[in-house]
């Protein structure tokens, strides 16, 4: 008898990860590195002590939100490559609020977070509107807006948020997501309250898409615009809405960096990459809320752990990027993995 499809769904990604690690090992052996040492270093660098665990969580936080942003748009048939840009504007907006007021925390922090969400939403509204109104391909528009965001935010940081400097002042304590609690808990890692926001957002996304009429409409529009229109749904509105919600998540990812990890905004020579990693996280997580969280944890762990590999094992940390990429490919190719599982489980019976 065959393996239940549920079982397969669980098994496939695990196998994919193992395959990725396996190939990574082969690469290291071929190129003369000590694989064991490398993975030990990787592990220590990610979970070796509470500090690193904290750092992993810190890294996971924006990954979750960026992943959600991509996944949400995907669910409604849109490809938002613009998360990077929406994140940058969110970052700056949050810091803006963070530096320019001082209010009681209870107002200041939510206000700053809100600002980030709104900024991201507005930035994402543009491609949404152009897609809905003029059928302009959202992929180009978001790519273009990424570059635009980079230069515009740099300019704002330089000439509005500071006098010609390359970074803003630290945000006010009252706007910071950091907390002594976590610092004690994780031995001064930069872990911050953002992780709770990220989790809540994941739940919100799941709820909107799976449980609300809005989600029902968004997904319907994603699958079949004509039928949705026939069924009386407002296709244009839904396309825009989808981008906007996606943008909110992306903006919040920026807030995590601005109010949590860094506490300031600095002029950037290039993209942070978080937005693009978000695409990978979302796809790896199958565009589902829970999947995104798991994928983000995997990503964050690998990324942070990787920093330790050159120091402890003398292995270039690019190796981890390779492994991540391989894992994604294997997950995406799950069809072939399932096929093998079937073959094997069949054989098992015979």
């Amino acid at each position: 008898m065959q393996m239940s499809s549920r079982m397969k769904n669980l098994l496939t990604p695990v196998i994919a990860v193992l395959l990725g690690v396996l190939v990574g090992t082969i690469i290291m052996i071929v190129s003369g590195y000590d694989a064991i040492a490398a993975y030990t270093a990787l592990w220590n660098g990610a979970f070796g002590d509470v500090y690193f665990v904290g750092e992993v969580v810190r890294q996971v936080t924006p990954y979750i939100l960026a992943g959600l942003a991509v996944a949400f748009a995907f669910k409604t048939g849109l490809f938002n490559i613009g998360v990077e840009g929406q994140m940058l504007v969110g970052w700056v907006a949050a810091v803006w609020v963070g530096v320019s007021f001082d209010l009681p925390r209870i107002i200041h922090l939510p206000l700053a977070v809100l600002a980030a969400g709104v900024a991201g939403a507005l930035w994402a509204f543009i491609p949404g509107y152009l897609k809905a109104r003029f059928r302009v391909h959202e992929v180009i528009v978001t790519i273009m807006l990424n570059h635009t965001a980079l230069y515009v935010t740099n300019e704002i940081i330089r000439s509005v948020l500071s006098d010609g400097k390359e970074r803003t002042d630290m945000i006010a304590e009252s706007a910071s997501l950091r907390s002594p609690f976590f610092e004690v808990l994780t031995d001064y890692s930069r872990m911050h309250w953002g992780i709770t926001i990220a989790i809540i957002c994941a739940i919100i996304m799941w709820f909107i898409l799976e449980k609300t009429t809005t989600g029902f409409e968004l997904r319907a529009v994603g699958f079949n615009e004509h039928a949705s229109q026939y069924a009386g749904m407002n296709v244009k509105r839904n396309i825009i809405l989808s981008m906007v919600i996606s943008g909110v998540f992306a903006g919040l990812a920026g807030a995590m960096e601005g109010l949590g990890t860094f506490g300031y905004a600095a002029v950037k020579g290039g993209f942070t990459g978080v937005g693009f990693d978000g695409i990978a996280v979302a796809l790896l997580g199958g565009n589902t809320a829970i999947g995104v969280i798991l994928a983000a944890i995997l990503f964050g762990g690998l990324k942070v752990g990787a920093l330790n590999m050159p120091l402890e094992a003398g292995v270039p940390n690019e190796l981890v990027d390779i492994i991540i990429a391989l894992i994604i490919i294997f997950v995406a190719s799950s069809y072939i993995i399932r096929w093998f599982i079937d073959r094997i489980s069949k054989k098992g019976v015979k």
């Binding site: 449980k211 609300t212 009429t213 809005t214 029902f216 997904r219 319907a220 699958f223 949705s228 026939y230």
Partner: protein, 511 residues
């Protein structure tokens, strides 16, 4: 007596499900052989096996006495087997010629020699009387012409055995007449034909023999000369079927739908509906007869709010809803069975259940203050699946996996259940088997008898004749006549639909 094709004891499974179970079909040289069966009986599958798209698990195929293995369409082509598929296999961004020569291009110095190719196409099309415009983009030509292109594809490859999978399902009466002529020419030219159709009338008219299959099993082969529609129908369905759905006299009441001086432009900006006036009363079925492309689509889209109208009035129960959003229109009491079930009728990736509430998901009890209540939704779905006997593994199955027939039943269930004052049914039985057709006609009439208004749009004259209480003939965007089905004949209707006796239908079929 020699067979050009022999399919012996063919068996085909889809992951466990047996679509063809030990079916035998033998085609004689120069005959038109009908293949008859319900939706999902296994006709397309059997033919796809013959054409090399599927590989049979068991059975033997002989071509002109030789046992052959048809591993892919190439082999079929080489064996002189051509197939006109149920869902056209045309690249609609290509021109007619490009579609025909694809895979067998005439080249000059490595480049496609389009001129010569177009000549070639022109020659063949004249020889078989298949009027096409070799330079037209497929996207812009009528369904009828698209089908002629499909036929030309096979002839261009020198096929002498032609398979037609439901060719007439999508054609207008005139186009069907033309097609039947084409069949005759092809036979004269020494070809042999296998014809899949749900229309017994056509079988009686053109076919020599007919093979019937039911639920994947072969029932047998009979000579058309020795049988009759009723027998065929019961062979196919396994029970007796009534064709002429008997119905009581209509007793129309107040006007539910009033269309006044309606003007609508089509996608290309051409005036498609001109000052059209029409009214449908409670308790009657008005049938709109007309050749495809005379504005039926635009008329319906304008009424249902899917397309903006230039001017005029559309009143439902006296309330003008012209250019309201589709949602507003439906809420004023309109139900709509769309012409294209895959494009408009269903979200194929949604489960049958979700599709059942596509129009009502936002209302109680299916959702409360924006939150869906899937339990209620699937309860409802189960009920409708029961009542409208939609054949589906479960209410959670994606609509995609249902046969067109069952997809159609699902849509009708959804729309009828909302019990709208005016129900618009466009091509409600296209591509369905007699059983399904009978069922759907019954439902429409029931709706009428419950004092609701029904507007039926169909290219099938006998459907119009059978079901309607009044027939409005549409021609070039205008209602040119209102006739009583009991006092008219198909001939008369045909003429009215053609505008005038002189006018050649082929050209004003929408191009």
């Amino acid at each position: 007596m020699e067979y050009v094709i022999e399919m012996l004891n063919i068996r085909k499974e889809f992951s466990g499900f047996v679509a063809n179970d030990n079916i035998t079909l033998q085609l004689k040289q120069g005959e038109i052989h009908a293949l008859l069966g319900e939706n999902g009986a296994g006709k397309s599958t059997l033919m796809n096996v013959l054409f090399g798209l599927y590989q049979p698990e068991e059975g033997e195929i002989k071509v002109k006495g030789e046992t052959v293995k048809i591993t892919d369409p190439n082999v079929a082509n080489e064996l002189g087997i051509g197939m006109v598929h149920q869902h056209f296999m045309l690249v609609d961004t290509f021109t007619v010629t490009e579609n025909i020569i694809l895979g067998k291009e005439t080249t000059k110095g490595g480049f496609i020699d389009i001129k010569t190719a177009e000549e070639e196409v022109r020659k063949i099309s004249e020889r078989y009387g298949l009027a096409v415009d070799p330079q037209a983009k497929v996207a812009n030509i009528s369904v009828g012409m698209q089908q002629r292109v499909e036929i030309l594809k096979t002839l261009y490859r020198g096929a002498d055995i032609l398979i037609f999978d439901e060719p007439t399902a999508v054609l207008t009466p005139q186009e069907i007449k033309e097609l039947i002529q084409i069949f005759k020419t092809l036979i004269k030219e020494g070809k042999s034909i296998i014809l899949i159709t749900h229309k017994l009338k056509e079988i009686m008219e053109v076919c020599d023999r007919v093979t019937v299959i039911r639920k994947g099993k072969g029932i047998g082969t009979v000579n058309v000369s020795e049988t009759n529609p009723t027998e065929l129908a019961s062979l196919m369905v396994g029970r007796d079927v009534v064709f002429k759905t008997e119905k009581t006299e209509a007793n129309p009441a107040h006007e539910v739908l009033q269309v006044e001086n309606l003007n609508v432009k089509d996608a290309r900006g051409v005036q498609a509906i001109k000052n059209l006036n029409l009214s449908v009363r409670a308790g009657e079925i008005v049938g709109i007869a007309g050749v495809d492309g005379n504005g039926q689509t635009e008329l319906i889209e304008a009424i249902t709010g899917l397309r903006k109208a230039e001017s005029g009035r559309v009143k439902i129960n006296g309330k003008n809803v012209l250019n309201f959003s589709p949602r507003k229109v439906t809420e004023t009491g309109l139900g709509h069975i769309p012409q294209d079930r895959h494009k408009h009728g269903l979200v194929l990736n949604y489960s049958v259940g979700e599709n059942m509430v596509l129009q009502t998901y936002y209302q109680k009890p299916y959702s409360k203050s924006g939150v869906m209540n899937f339990k209620k939704i699937y309860d409802k779905a189960r009920a409708l699946i029961q009542e409208f006997d939609v054949r589906t593994p479960s209410e959670y199955t994606p609509a995609r996996a249902l046969s067109g027939g069952n997809q159609q039943k699902a849509i009708i269930g959804r729309e009828v259940d909302r019990n709208p004052d005016i129900l618009i049914a466009a091509q409600p039985t296209r591509g369905l088997d007699v059983g399904a057709i009978e069922f759907i006609h019954k439902r429409l009439i029931e709706q009428r008898d419950n004092g609701k208004a029904v507007l039926l749009v169909s290219f099938e004259l006998d459907e119009i004749m059978n079901v309607s209480d009044r027939i409005a003939v549409i021609y070039e965007g205008e209602i040119v006549a209102i006739v009583d089905p009991k006092e008219t004949t198909e001939q008369e209707l045909g003429l009215l639909m053609a505008g005038s006796k002189k006018k050649e239908v082929g050209e004003n079929a929408n191009v």
